[in-house]
Symmetry: C2
Subunit: 410 residues, 2 copies
């Protein structure tokens, strides 16, 4: 949680944080400012002190709304040259801002979504001007990501609200599909044209926006063979045919780049062929089994291994036995969810034994078992987002039916 | 234009570009890939050769859609460790990818929205492994930004289409306001509650999304004193009162982070007080005058100076005579518009004499004269986006009435 930042900085020998970039769609800036609508800003937080915001003169109202201690860029004579792209002046301005925030020596961690073209030169310039500064860039010292991995009550409430919006939109999507006319096993719109993946995705976007949310990273709505490739987002011109798996993975956030929710269902319209039912039942059974086993205090990776074991017992290849497999269970069990759709704790690539990848109370995680057979034209994934309560219970933040078959109405 | 990239790289002694980050909401990646829906990717373009895409295994379908030559990250044994945050392995993987793209020595320019925490360490590690590489980070050598500053016909068509969407949404907004009931000079909804800035902005978001566009950087819809602060986005709880200036600055882009359009109108509902009319007439007159003077071949800054001169003749302070003024003309005349809402050519802070800040055919620019008096509770800004044709004519890409007063209906 944010209140843990100072302790984490102490434990990891990080003396200050310097976060920069736009105020929106920039998770670390949103975390520090609460989502101020700034074209560009800097936040400097020295250990043990309140974070300080630096802002452009025209954005003084937005800066004031944050309630943070703040400085106008105009206080720095290097500002104009820095804006014009002068790396040395930019570095000198950073040095002056750091000084005003009380940071003149020690380890400094940089954060934010920044422009790659300039960032290296700016940091190099800063270190040349201020050799007393060192850069904290070891993955183990990523203290902001670690703080973000546990959530306070307000954050959980916001993710829960995004879950409610998500399931409302999922229910509206199901209704759109099941209310469509079927001709030759294909869904049609009232104008007589086939309903396409593109049509459905556009509706999803509008329904999300009507509820004050957006999906900056897109929505996966993929049918048939595409459903068998986990990150295939679907082909806009594809029609919706009965009896094929549809993987619907929706991960919206609060408008402007706030808290996410992550959710997946797999549907078959009208009916499901036997081999799809079998695939679905395997995923469903593994999900149920896993939920009885999930507990705090163990590395997330432990449960990733466990799900691979369960799938392999059923005869499916997995990434555990066959690195790089494109059939069977081809991804990882899950990830933390917050201001980033994928954040700590991580279960696969990220260091297994690290404290931040151990399941602990107050984390919010997505669990996503799935099975993929693109050559057989099918894929199944089921995903829910859970809050681990202070008592260590796993609570599904947005319960919704898991049914495979959506019967067509009328 | 993109076809100018090789010549620009040659002229600026840049041997290769390395663009990274997500495939969406990342202008340089969108420019190179056409907007592939990748959680993460790298593009390497060596001078004189086609750009090569590097992608994650689950995203092979999205990578294939680009039609680019490509490599799966799984080809690189360092991939897992790099994903786990190991900077040295990440650097080694970049070195191997650069080698596969034919880049083993010379000047390399980094691009994309990247995570500040890791970027410096990764580049430092790469340079340690490959001392034959140098980093191109001089503002003058920002060849991608320079290529982007002129547009091909497809790009202009896309910005024009965004302009059409913009003016449709602006017309719908005007209709919403003028159709509202007025009680005690305040607009009300049909449920009897006052219509607020927040209500209007939410509607704008939905109308944009219904048309396949979004506003990742928000919309400015600010009334009264807020209208007098250029980047104040407006206070959500403010009610809409007759006779006050509303600055409505809308800058949407194609959904997913594509081409932008930039547009501003200033409205008074019902009537306008005399001092507001005077302020509006000054801005309108300067805009008209300026349009008769705009021509290619001169630095954009020339016209910024010119607009300040025109405003000062009318008795308004400007940034030219009074750096940092918060009254009068407080910002710059305009900027290029494309995959970034603010891009080259720039007219104020950016180097004045640089070729990329000279007005030339095929640029798309926004011109935004305005006058601000926050203490008097008013601000006026008018903005249109223009295409400079191959013949050097300035074409308003989305003509729309400039009227100040919106009469209330009925």
């Amino acid at each position: 949680m944010k209140i843990d930042l100072d302790a984490l900085m102490q434990a990891h020998d990080v003396d200050a944080l310097l976060i920069s970039g736009p105020g929106k769609h920039n998770p670390m800036m949103v975390y520090m400012t609460g989502g101020a609508n700034l074209t560009m800003g800097h936040v400097i937080k020295k250990r043990g002190e309140a974070a300080v915001l630096f802002y452009a003169p025209m954005e003084r109202d937005e800066a004031a709304r944050t309630g943070m201690k703040s400085h106008n860029y105009m206080e720095y004579p290097q500002f104009r040259a820095a804006l014009s792209g002068d790396l040395d002046q930019h570095a000198a301005m950073l040095q002056a801002m750091l000084k005003d925030a009380g940071m003149t020596e020690g380890r400094l961690a940089f954060y934010g979504q920044v422009d790659a073209f300039r960032h290296f030169g700016i940091v190099k310039g800063l270190l040349a001007l201020a050799p007393e500064l060192r850069v904290a860039d070891n993955i183990d010292d990523d203290v902001v990501l670690q703080a973000m991995s546990t959530k306070d009550e307000d954050e959980v409430a916001r993710i829960r609200k995004m879950g409610k919006i998500t399931t409302e939109v999922v229910a509206k999507t199901a209704n759109l599909l099941t209310s469509s006319r079927v001709m030759d096993e294909v869904l049609h719109k009232s104008d007589g044209e086939p309903l396409t993946i593109g049509d459905v995705k556009k509706q999803i976007d509008v329904w999300l926006m009507e509820r004050g949310s957006e999906n900056p990273e897109g929505t996966i709505f993929a049918i048939g063979r595409d459903a068998g490739v986990p990150h295939s987002t679907g082909t806009a011109s594809d029609v919706l045919r009965l009896g094929q798996t549809i993987v619907y993975d929706i991960f919206p956030c609060e408008a402007g780049g706030g808290y996410f929710h992550d959710f997946t269902r797999t549907w078959c319209l009208g009916y499901a062929p036997d081999d799809v039912v079998k695939l679905y039942e395997d995923v469903y059974a593994v999900n149920e089994q896993l939920l009885t086993e999930m507990e705090v205090g163990k590395p997330f990776f432990h449960f990733h291994k466990r799900i691979c074991e369960l799938f392999e017992e059923m005869g499916h290849p997995t990434v555990m036995s066959k690195q790089g497999t494109e059939e069977g269970y081809v991804h990882s069990l899950g990830h933390g969810v917050g201001l980033k759709v994928h954040e700590l704790p991580m279960c696969r690539y990220h260091p297994e034994g690290k404290p931040s990848n151990v399941l602990t109370p107050r984390q919010v995680i997505a669990l996503e078992p799935g099975l993929y057979y693109p050559e057989r034209g099918m894929g199944v994934r089921l995903e829910n987002t859970y809050y681990i309560s202070p008592e260590g219970k796993f609570e599904n933040l947005a319960p919704y039916p898991m049914d495979l078959v959506l019967p067509i109405k009328g």
